[in-house]
């Protein structure tokens, strides 16, 4: 229980850090936030009124406490451009980003484990070399490049998948679900491409180590089939570092989702960020970061708990 309590405290600390860093960055960087919403030639009176409306005339410490108080109530401020709360803007986008990132993670793990096993059981062979080199190359890819390539080949050229949006608006019931999955394929694949390398390479290294352990030699000498030794004995231990990788790659996954959603006009948080950049809508940018940081903290908590369940040792240490 103490283990999970500590992890929870750590998550809350990370969240507080994210919120505080953005607050001070936004306030202390040069640039008048009021200029972004209004005409630079406005009267001083109007400027003061706008500052008061956004609460920017109070001392910094008071602004900070206000901001924290509002955050706890789920209020991220007002969008400069759309005149609706940032929370409203982002909350309708969040489910799409969650669908995209989670499906990408599931597919990556489903492909990464067998590929890692394949490479590890044929260590130093040509297949292993190919998998390793592909893994390193995949990690060097620029997400939008992968997205554009897949869009071009599978979407435009072969016409197998739609190249923009998340769902056909006129589809209903089961048809809507199918259309959603159909739209999901290309953005999801783009994310899988850039994530897979990390998983496969980690899986490969840890499994090679695990295969050298005493309990593997013991199982082999007892006459357990080689396939069973790999899948039942060694893999179980090699899964632990893979859980860690899932946590470490969350940042890359979120960054990748922002870029992928931009390419495919996928209506998630990432696309909202792209639109907000074009309109200099700072509250939306700030809110999107806070929300994504919160999502990463929650996902990290989940991987920590999973690790704790998989490996009882970490709970006591």
């Amino acid at each position: 229980m103490r283990f999970f309590g500590l992890r929870l405290a750590r998550g809350l600390l990370t969240l507080w850090f994210a919120v505080t860093v953005t607050f001070f960055l936004v306030r202390l960087l040069p640039g008048d936030p009021v200029l972004a919403v209004a005409d630079p030639n406005m009267t001083e009176e109007l400027r003061q009124k706008l500052l008061a409306d956004f609460g920017l005339d109070k001392p910094l410490a008071a602004q900070y406490l206000d901001y924290l108080g509002q955050l706890v109530q789920g209020n991220l401020g007002m969008s400069f451009r759309q005149s609706i709360p940032v929370t409203t803007v982002l909350m309708e986008r969040l489910p799409w980003t969650l669908i995209l990132t989670m499906s990408a993670m599931v597919v990556t793990i489903a492909l990464g484990i067998p590929l890692g096993v394949l490479a590890a059981t044929r260590a130093k062979g040509w297949l292993d070399r190919v998998i390793q080199l592909t893994g390193v190359t995949a990690q060097s890819l620029f997400v939008p490049s992968v997205g554009i390539f897949l869009m071009y080949v599978l979407g435009v050229w072969l016409g197998w998948f739609p190249i923009g949006g998340a769902v056909d608006l006129d589809a209903t019931g089961f048809g809507a679900t199918l259309s959603m999955l159909h739209h999901l394929v290309l953005p999801c694949l783009s994310l899988v491409f850039i994530q897979l390398g990390g998983y496969v390479l980690t899986m490969r290294t840890t499994l090679i180590d695990a295969l050298g352990e005493d309990y593997v030699s013991l199982a082999k000498s007892k006459g357990v089939r080689p396939g069973k030794v790999v899948w039942k004995h060694a893999l179980r231990n090699a899964l632990l570092p893979t859980t860690t990788i899932a946590g470490l790659q969350l940042g890359t996954l979120v960054g990748g989702a922002v870029l992928t959603e931009t390419i495919y006009a996928y209506p998630g948080i990432g696309r909202a960020i792209y639109e907000a950049v074009g309109q200099l809508d700072f509250p939306v940018l700030q809110g999107a970061f806070v929300l994504l940081a919160a999502a990463v903290v929650v996902a990290n908590l989940i991987t920590d708990v999973a690790y704790g369940i998989l490996d009882p040792r970490v709970r006591t240490s």
């Binding site: 060097s140 939008p144 490049s145 869009m151 979120v254 922002v258 870029l259 390419i263």
Partner: protein, 284 residues
Amino acid sequence: MTAAAVELTPRQRTWSSFRRNPLGMASGIVLILMALVAICAPLIAPFPEGYGTDTSQPPSAAHWFGTDDIGQDVFAQVVWGTRVSMAVGVSASVLAIVIGLLIGVSAAYFRRLDTPLGVLVDLSLSLPVLPLMILVAALAGPSVRTLAVVIALFSWPEVARVVRSQALAIVPMPFVSAAKVVGGSSLWIVRKHLLPGVIPVVGVSVVLTTSRAVLAEAGLSFLGLGDPGSWSWGTILHKAQQSGALASAWWTTLFPSLAILLLVLSTTLLSVAYNDARNHRSDT
């Protein structure tokens, strides 16, 4: 190993085993060529600006990489883009390494600083960096200098962590205690004993940080946060996205994409080859 090989200094041994790695050597040559393109850009192609008459042309003898929707030569854009992409990548990486070295070494040497600095590094590493960079770059206003500083500002924790763990192994060594006993100042000990010990690790870090910085620059420029007055590979992709050329004119996106891939892949392979060469156990 022969007697002659044993007499080589560690640096020579690293170099001689590095030279035997074809992938590493090829990567090194590619990087040198790209740096030459970046330096000699004005000699290779005129700066792409204004409107041209041949719009959205596929690659031809006149325009090797084709033209974009306003008739600018994509080859010229990619050549000039090499400049900004490499300049931002290298300067962001140098800045991140300096900050990371300072923080990492101080955390390892001054015990009282270790916990707060460690927590700072841990917290920074667990945040999604790209959305944070976007926020800061948008607030600070787009320019080449902003990009380099913003990327460095959020890339140093990785370096600090690597440096700290390496430096922690050196601090308890007898020669460090000896230096303290004879009255060496902290600054002197750090400079004479700690820095030389962590530099080899930093060598790999420089390369990896540069490739990550190049990707970060491309990402920010792609989202529209690039310097409006200059070209980078991400900017070319951003313009293609805005003009709707993504799904029609493949040449406007393929060539900048290949440039990014070539640079990042060769830096990665170079660091792998350097690591293998430094690890002398593997070549016996």
